[in-house]
């Protein structure tokens, strides 16, 4: 916000009661209390202050005090004397009580943020493992992390983003495990943001990532404490944004979006199988419907004779070319998904019935789509939900539409052209200047043990190469 010259001067002046009240003029929720017997004035927002704590620690001591007691009280370390206006006003906005006494001004923090209780994450549900997740208060989130990482090496940098909202942002890293180049880069990117408000971690990510125009998310966010901590220990940097349950971790590779904390809480073979399943799901999501369109438009010869009969039978009643049929159904599925996401759970069930029975069954009976397409579209939709990161799965679903259109124009060649284009795009991406396709390119076979499969813990001896950690060794376990 541009400040006028006089406002700028006021910022550096000594705080006074008059100016403070002037500043908060027309704020109906500001409270001004006077204790005439001790000459004390207090200014604060009642709803930002914990009332019990205020009464116990501030109101009662000052009410009982006489002239000398007041001086002694104000000398206590929790009362911070302020000499300039700007931080003084900011402190009041953050929930401090401002105290004026004999031309001097103090603040004392008795704030108590309103917070949702710690609950399970709805977007990243897991079966086994810790169920707590972050909530909207940065300090609570910090406490959740600190409680899990009892190390003095866990450092935090406090930054502020949003010129109006002044959102607190903490950058966390383990100082002997994280690469300081990444820390500095991330810090400078956050400092450079010039915007009135940042309301969520996923929003902050878009201001700091390397390619804001890419369809792929380059920096993951998580609501799960264990996931955030595991990334911290892997040498990544964590960013906690006040007001958002989504915690950012950077840098990250494309393949990280396919792993879930669950993988580590199961036996390694199961973890590996699940992880491979997700990559297969990725291929199905991207190619299934496009393959259907390609085969039914250009390459009927690819279908074996027995299957061909079934396919032609189900296609025979459909009056449209495969591309319309496919887009119609894909769009319907997307509508259902979006409607399901926005509606309350109780009504959400209706969507399942309407979508599953009415649209699915009726569309086939009415001759608008073929059975086999429904299977293709449904399985690729289900496969897309297997991908643990919601943001990534949404990106992949969008790419699918491009591939379907290309397949309808040039068949298998078009499909392959689409895939080539996606890979070319991916190859150019970086996350915090580290290659997005690590460990495929640059190639690092050691990393594969924790990317494509989930090896036994005894094999996971090193931190991922992408972290460029000064301390690569993580596990001294013998085989």
């Amino acid at each position: 916000m541009a400040l006028s010259k006089s406002e700028d001067n006021m910022d550096n002046m000594k705080p006074t009661l008059q100016h403070t009240l002037e500043e908060f003029k027309d704020c109906a929720d500001i409270l001004h209390r006077t204790l005439p017997e001790t000459g004390i004035d207090m200014v604060f927002f009642e709803h930002l202050v914990g009332s019990d704590q205020f009464t116990r620690d501030v109101a009662i001591p000052f009410m009982d005090a006489n002239g000398d007691d007041v001086k002694r009280l104000l000398n206590r370390s929790q009362y911070e004397e302020m000499n300039t206006n700007k931080p003084f006003i900011k402190a009041i906005l953050e929930g401090a009580v401002a105290i004026f006494h004999n031309d001097r001004s103090y603040v004392v923090y008795v704030s108590k943020p309103e917070a949702r209780s710690i609950q399970q994450s709805e977007t990243e549900a897991i079966i086994t493992g810790p169920h707590d997740s972050f909530n909207e208060v940065a300090e609570i989130n910090m406490s959740l992390i600190r409680r899990r990482v009892k190390s003095s090496h866990l450092k935090s940098i406090l930054l502020e983003v949003g010129e109006v909202t002044k959102t607190r942002v903490y950058v966390l890293y383990l100082d002997d495990l994280a690469n300081m180049e990444y820390v500095n880069e991330l810090q400078s990117r956050i400092e450079k943001i010039e915007i009135d408000s940042v309301l969520d971690g996923n929003m902050l990510v878009q201001y700091i990532d390397d390619f804001p125009n890419s369809i792929f998310p380059l920096i993951p966010t998580t609501e799960r404490v264990d996931a955030a901590v595991s990334r911290l220990v892997a040498g990544r940097i964590i960013v906690v944004v006040d007001g958002s349950p989504s915690v950012i971790s950077a840098p990250a590779s494309f393949f990280e979006f396919f792993s879930s904390p669950d993988d580590y809480y199961q036996r390694w073979m199961l973890g590996t199988a699940t992880r491979l399943l997700r990559f297969i799901a990725f291929i199905i999501t991207v190619t299934f419907t496009a393959m259907y369109v390609s085969v039914t438009t250009f390459h009927y010869e690819m279908i074996p004779e027995d299957l061909l009969l079934t396919l032609t039978e189900s296609r025979s009643r459909v009056p449209f070319p495969p591309i319309y049929e496919a887009l119609l159904l894909e769009a319907t599925i997307e509508l259902l998904r979006e409607a399901g996401a926005r509606l309350p759970t109780k009504i959400g069930q209706t969507i399942g019935i309407v979508g599953g029975i009415v649209i699915g069954q009726a569309a086939v009976q009415a001759g608008l789509t073929s059975n086999i397409l429904i299977i293709a579209v449904a399985s690729s939709a289900i496969a897309s939900f297997v991908i643990p990161s919601y943001v990534m799965s949404a990106s992949i679903r969008l790419i699918r539409f491009g591939l379907i259109i290309l397949a309808s124009v040039l068949g298998n060649l078009g499909l392959m052209m689409g895939i080539v284009m996606v890979i070319i795009h991916l190859a150019g991406l970086t996350s915090l200047k580290a290659s997005y396709l690590t460990p495929i390119a640059p190639m690092n076979v050691k990393d594969w043990r924790d990317v494509f499969i989930r090896s036994p813990f005894a094999w996971l001896k090193e931190r991922p190469s992408m972290s460029k950690s000064p301390n690569m060794r993580r596990n001294k376990m013998k085989q």
């Binding site: 068949g411 060649l413 392959m416 284009m421 070319i424 190859a427 396709l437 640059p442």
Partner: protein, 358 residues
Amino acid sequence: MAKEKLYPFHVTILTYMTQTGVVMLSLPRILAENFGYNGWMALIGLSGIAALNIFIISLVYRLGKGKSIFQIMEMSLPKFVLYPLYSFIACIWAVTGCIVAKNYVSIFQMISFNTTHVMLLKIMVDILVYFLVIKGIYNISKALTSFYWVTSWMYLILFFYFKDFEWARMTPFFFSGETHFVEGSMSVFTSFIGYELSLLLFPYVEKGKKFMRAVQIGNLLTTLTYIIICFICFGFYSFEQLKLMVYPMLDLLSYIKLPFIERIDNLLFAFFLFTTVSTIAMYIWASQEIVKRMIPKAKVKVIVILIIMAVFFIAWIPDTIPEIGEWLQYLGYTDTVIAFGLPLMLIAILLVNKRARQ
């Protein structure tokens, strides 16, 4: 953060992906036509010649202490000699790239899109190449490495042919029947061409001996792939049949049958797009590097788009697949001359300079 360098593994993949391509499809026939029975063995000797050529390139790298070839040439050649030479090499490489593209799309048009104009398909491929080349060599290498992994599973297809492979077709006769050794060697050798682009990689690689070894390994990987495919073709088809097939490998692919899918030759051929785009991108990139050296102020994007557009019109000239084949043949010969001639010339310059300094 430190500028990324090409690691040896990437150089291997770059070499392999540049060398291999659609030529694989017709290679078994060319071998059968020119080298007679057990013609696949000729690949070993030809690969040896390619390895020798790579060794010559490695001498340039060693003598020049990693200096780029432009720096070496500009040390002693005047501009009026250099610029025509640069232009010639840039043209040949750019045209090679674009004819490779035309060859690929023409075959695809033949098998699947008989009514689509071939140049329309080519425009699509060119767009992909443009987006790849403008990203610079480091990102090209990352993309090519990913391409390699996307296509590497295709080796598994080879297991399909175990059942119908007959050792009896591997006769005890070597190189007998009607043979054309010189002509055959020349045309088969063009399928190894592509490693010469490593000359341009000098400034982008990690310094050390590993770089040239990586190129050699890339060449070996290509050789191995060719040998396996040709060996299977020689054991799968009878010798006379092999001589009559235009694209024996394409027929090999169409033989695969799974319960839910068959005739996947056009799908698998679509996978060849990965290696084809790699080859084209590398040649266009090489050409771009030279043009950039001649006009340092020009923007890379502009150079690439101009090169692609210029050669697009050249690609219009050859019309039929045999014609394209002929073009590829002659371009291959010229590339071979460049592949041997350029490093030899560079060595000569380096030696003369060294002596002059002493």
